[in-house]
Amino acid sequence: MPSRAFVSGVAAVALMALPCPVFAAGPIVFRDKTAATGIDFRHTTGGSGRKYMAETVASGLATFDYDGDGRLDLYLLSGVPLEGAPSDPRAGSRLYRNVGDWQFADTTVAAGLDQRGYALGVAVGDYDADGWPDVYTNDFGPNTLHRNNGDGTFTDVTAAAGVARGEALGAGANFLDIDGDGVLDLFVANYVDFRYDTHRTSLVAGRPDYARPREFAPRANRLFRGTGQGRFDDVSAAAGIAAHAGAGMGSVCFDADGDGRTDIFLCNDQRFDFLFHNEGDGSFRESALAAGVACNVLGAPTASMGVDAGDYDNDGRIDLVVTPYFNELPVLHHALGGGQFEDVAARAGLGVRAVAAVKWGVALVDLDNDGHRDIVITCGRIYEPAAGERSAWPPVLFRNLGNGRFANVSDQAGDLSACSGVARGLACDDLDGDGRVDLVILNRDGPATVLRNESPAANHWVGVRLRGKRAAADGTGARITVVAGDLVQVAEVHSGRGYQSHFGAWPHFGLGTHDRIDRIEVRWAGGTTDVVGDVPVDRLVTIVEGTGPTDTAGSTERGQP
């Protein structure tokens, strides 16, 4: 498609940023705000003691603005009682509306999201291009698509959309735009072929425990093509997706080789990971081994759980970070260009105090706004602990040193190291609009953890919210380049990332001491490009396809959709 450049200076001097303080590399500090938030959610695996496989992988979570008030809300997934477990009327996923000042109100029932599915993974995307984010959950059992009505409520449109798809044990999910036509498509990952009638356990220390994933056959994944008429067609076979079965877990859709088309990376548990390369004709070619992302640097297929995609070294290429099992280093696939990657985790310092735990949620996000993306990882055990062992682990925080290496600063990050849990999902977003990315952790069979980022606010930042016209309405698949002096950063808009979670739909860029942004360039998934020049900092900027910025709300004031 022809490229169309749009250059706009932001005229309003009133929007100029405040004077820039001298940069100081302060610590990254989190405070546990959970008790003060009003969030009374408690995740359940719905276990009955029979050790069903589904319990091990529950659950992810989502942060997104469902009511258009400019504040990011929380959708916390949960299981429900499994066969043999007593009923629990409170069990289930919960929606919490962010009402400001770190208060969250449970609006699950009022919003119509009080589903009783066994929710494992989630993706948020505006599949019907009406300006309101819709929610797809990947369950153990039929999956669900909830259409956002734009009035604070949702309607279950699963049947009409044709995306329920049976009784599989689900995993991650992603909206993506396969062909840049502006209509969102849907990738749905599956784990293993666990059903009640295939249930089995392992005997460990004389007692039954969860079976190992390789004791079940892997399940193929699904790809649905959006028709633009509110329906999806299952193109899994035709697109070449169904031909590959791993034991899918977290997934992320990103442009792996810079060809402008969105590819799909899928973690597989104890098997080679998949990279479905978008061939541009509606089909995908599994190319993980050739690309160097099928396994870690040793050549070993890891027990990959979660994945995030981002440019950690600001070389303009999107890298991948993958969270594997205990005694396996996190995997950091550094993009070399041309669709090739190299695992540099050890060289980057990710082997420091991040290996002993089972790792799940993961995010590449700039937590101190220094212009370099840091790494957060959540951890938690799967199996019953033996005497002297523990199930709960604190998160791990790697600070990006800006030289290709990371430092484990978990113990110097305020309350972070005290927040032990049997964690699964992780979402990272700016919940209070103060320009610092906060954390929400979903803990298996426990309450969620909400951590406010209280790092020194010396550095500048910008958030970018996209509104597509011909491209996907929520900007999914767009690539954003922010240029501030000599600091050049790229990010993509993802739907679904981390461990079966969704967050960061408004990409956040730390700017260090740069108090002006020279330009923001958006390459939409359809191939068109917009460039916005001279952008003020410390605010969320909304860029509308083809028309430039319409809203550059400050840190305490956010625009409506």
Partner: protein, 333 residues
């Protein structure tokens, strides 16, 4: 990184069946002053060592406890091993070589936490007890505590440069910590003495690869394959190096071999827990425990017990015809 589940080039078995060399090494302190030590311990009992110990030593020693009730009754081998370990603790509660032996036995049979306590207690008494540092380092490496592993292994090697497994393990720990420039000389020293250990060549290949010395990386991985042709991971190392060197055909060939070997490796699904062991392996492990204990008793002038333990070592599982049950899932997260 320990690539459990796929076939890493074989690492030398941690300290091989202990007694002969290891016990001598372990007991360097004891052997050199065996008579004095035995007399002192016999004459003054544990009180002498307790008197010498600081509060930390006392705390560590106090934490040691019998484990007899910890194992399911059907696991004959583990129960027998624990009985040996508990007996060592009962008879020599403050003898460093006995604490080391106990830690070694417990570690081999899956009681990691108690094993570490025992080894730390031994080190609290003899800070440069090389073999204990080696075992603690290997355990830390296995658990992904690379800094701790490197620390113990370096201390162990400083006390005894001939430790059998410490060199390659230290190289691996340093690689995983991103300290490849330190890993290279450690591994080269190890290889100079142990040229046929595939794991050492593999780790050296990893270090060179991390350092972008792809020609050397390729050579090291090929050497690893020469000593262990079944290593899929070494094939992957060769493939990656060839990729970087622009040798696409060779890269493709080794990538194919990598996939074939990984796919054929039945251990992939077993990475999370030891699936069990053969009766022979069980007997061997238990025999080693008896033999090690026998040496402790012999060194402490208790020949009758030593002889009985040696007899047990000769037939460690009398009457056992079937493999014992899989050991408990120690270390399974």
């Amino acid at each position: 990184m320990t690539a459990r589940g796929t076939r890493t080039p074989r690492r030398p078995t941690p300290p091989p069946p202990p007694p002969a060399r290891a016990a001598a090494r372990v007991s360097r302190w004891v052997v050199s002053g065996l008579v004095v030590g035995t007399v002192l311990l016999a004459g003054l009992g544990g009180g002498f060592v307790w008197w010498r110990s600081d509060r930390e030593v006392a705390r560590v020693l106090a934490a040691l406890r019998p484990l007899a009730a910890e194992v399911p009754a059907d696991q004959v081998e583990r129960r027998a091993a624990i009985e040996v370990a508990d007996r060592l603790l009962r008879d020599f509660p403050t003898a460093p070589e006995a604490l080391y032996a106990r830690g070694r036995i417990l570690l081999r049979h899956g009681f990691q936490a108690e094993a570490v306590k025992s080894l730390e207690a031994a080190i609290a008494l003899v800070p440069d007890l090389a073999a204990a540092h080696e075992l603690l380092g290997l355990d830390a490496l296995q658990r992904g505590h690379y800094e701790a592993a490197a620390g113990h292994l370096q201390r162990g090697l400083a006390s005894d440069p001939t430790l059998p497994a410490a060199g390659v393990a230290l190289g691996e720990a340093l690689n995983n910590l991103g300290r490849m420039r330190e890993a290279v000389p450690v591994l080269e020293r190890f290889i100079a003495v142990n040229p046929a250990v595939a794991a050492a060549h593999f780790q050296l290949g990893q270090a060179w690869s991390y350092l972008h010395e792809y020609g050397r990386a390729k050579a090291s991985h090929l050497e690893a394959l020469r000593h262990d042709p079944t290593s899929g991971l070494a094939c992957y190392g060769v493939a990656l190096a060839c990729d970087r060197l622009g040798e696409k055909e060779m890269a493709g060939e080794y990538r194919r071999r990598h996939v074939e070997l990984v796919a054929a490796d039945r251990r992939i699904g077993q990475r999370r827990v030891r699936e069990g062991q053969s009766a022979d392996e069980a007997r061997g492990a238990l025999a080693a425990a008896y033999d090690l204990a026998a040496r402790i008793y012999a060194a402490n002038d208790r020949p009758a017990e030593a002889a009985a333990l040696r007899a047990s070592a000769a037939d460690p599982l009398p009457g056992a015809t079937a493999p014992p049950s899989p050991p408990a899932g120690a270390g399974r997260p």
